[in-house]
Amino acid sequence: MPKDIYIGEVSRNEEIRKNFFLMKVTLPYGFVEPMPGQFVMIRIAGLNDPFLSRPISIYSFVRGRMNCTIELLFRVVGKGTRILAGLIKGSLVEVNGPLGKGHFATPTTGNIIFIAGGIGIAPLSLLAQNLCRKVCRSSDSMTFYLGAQSADTLIGFNRVHQYCGRVIACTDDGSAGMKTLVTKAFQKDLRIYDPADTSIYACGPRPMIRALSGILDPEYFCQVSLEEKMACGVGACVGCAVAVKDDYGQKTYKRVCADGPVFELKDIVWE
């Protein structure tokens, strides 16, 4: 039984953009280093309202001498995230993680592409950081397509720029970067990426992932991180089902939490 629920202490919780919060949580030393794409289930210690834990991707991880610190980047969309947003320094949270067996695979190709929409930046930023550090590739091989509604909500540009030679920002209203959808910006460049030498990683709202599946040939290696409502986060409740193709091409339901959250784009069944 190596796993446990950790009590974490919020060491910082800042509204970095309207409705977007960056929360730092200090955790015991034993917290396992997450693989990019993994997430935590988080809830406020001792309270049953909101009832279920919330799945949030790990945005960064640092192991210190006495403890670990993770960063979470989240957007306020409903009750749970609103309450998380209200936590002040010193508040205690219950953290289960890192969770997710399906995480981003280390690329073996020359071109490494990231496509993030909105809050989808969180797991991809950690991935870019790790690839930059651990795989030690020339940062020129990594291109980050970063989309948001407007300049206000374009988050993480500076951070990913540390890791990736090229960062292409797109906004719906043109208030920062190109005025286009992030998938459109990527599509324009597509012909320069040889399927045999390109790995693509994407995270963002469902319509973005769906658009991507329309754009990309199945030859491309493309992994995407999916979202679905979760209760347990560990594969027990089968609540977070997503329709994917099994080995025989038949539709089957897999668990976002335990079989994912990262899946291959070509396996997703769009119902």
């Binding site: 409502k229 209760a231 347990c232 027990a236 329709a243 339901y253």
Partner: protein, 300 residues
């Protein structure tokens, strides 16, 4: 802390509830399965089932709705692929079974008979999610009794019948299955509920309705256990919103010989063992020798 339910021996009265603990493996990193009284596995059907399309769950106030739709690997794959893992542990394994007809119930039961590592059957006559299924059996005393008889005829294992709360008079159903040979009853399963997305004006669950579980339903479970325990003479297993040792003890005082922990596992993967520790602590503090001494001791 040991209890015995119709020949089923358990180290302690705490089991994990069907559908909330997978096939044991999912939580084995968090919980030493050897410490549990029992594990009730995810509901098994004759054939593997894909379950309902997502979304399948939604949070509610003090609880959650689920419409998983009994996604499961099917009884054969369970025996071949899931049971070997569980056999490594010294824990009572209860197979929760489900059918769309009397025939199917009987077939699933028969496949599990004399299978090494299965110690009891729990019949789900109550699952509210599958249209043609559970609800009709569990809400009619005659149908519930008939399912019980058919399953009993196929197995030498103790048979627990799991009752649905979505009925006018749960005690009459309990009495009917007792008469039909049930060795124990467990209750409650989820209460049928619904949740609506105001923005899209669609149900949050693709299946429209789902089963409500969690602390929100605890008062209802407790009331039903109390009502049933007064009527039947077979053991009663209490389920519904148990989050803490105190909750479990309340169920036992109301008349439950054992309890099952469901949704609490999702909130805290270690809930089941923390509840066992809490019960032990309570017995110690109150100088109670045998856990069974508190069963049904409610003063009214």
């Amino acid at each position: 802390m040991a209890v015995k339910i119709a020949g089923l021996k358990m180290k302690n009265p705490v089991m994990t509830a069907s559908g909330t603990f997978g096939y044991g493996e999912e939580y084995s990193d968090y919980v030493d399965l050897n410490r549990l009284g029992g594990i009730v596995v995810k509901g098994l059907s004759l054939k593997p089932r894909q379950g309902n399309p997502p979304p399948r769950i939604m949070e509610t106030s003090g609880g959650m709705l689920n419409a998983v739709g009994l996604q499961n690997v099917g009884v054969d794959v369970f025996i071949d692929e899931k049971l070997p893992f569980l056999r490594r542990y010294d824990v009572a394994v209860i197979a929760n079974i489900y059918g769309e007809s009397y025939q199917e119930y009987a077939q699933v039961a028969s496949k599990l008979n004399r299978v090494d590592g299965v110690h009891a059957l729990e019949i789900n006559v109550s699952c509210p999610n599958v249209r043609k299924g559970g609800l009709s059996f569990g809400s009619d005393p005659k149908a519930a009794a008939q399912v019980t008889r058919r399953v009993k005829a196929e197995t030498h294992l103790p048979v627990i019948v799991k009752l649905t709360p979505n009925v006018t008079d749960i005690a009459s159903i309990a009495l009917a299955v007792e008469k039909a040979g049930a060795d124990a009853v467990s209750l409650i399963n989820t209460i049928t509920g619904m949740s609506i997305d105001l923005k899209t004006r669609t149900p949050h669950l693709k299946n429209i309705t789902g089963g409500l579980s969690g602390p929100a339903i605890k008062p209802v479970g407790l009331r039903m256990v109390w009502q049933v325990a007064q009527k039947v003479s077979i053991p009663v297993i209490g389920i519904g919103g148990i989050m803490t040792a105190e909750d479990a003890l309340e169920y036992m005082i109301a008349g439950a010989t054992a309890v099952q922990i469901g949704t609490a596992n999702f909130i805290n993967p270690c809930a089941s063992v923390e509840i066992i520790d809490g019960i032990r602590h309570y017995l110690h503090e109150n100088k109670i020798k045998k856990i069974t001494d508190i069963v049904g001791t409610l003063q009214t």
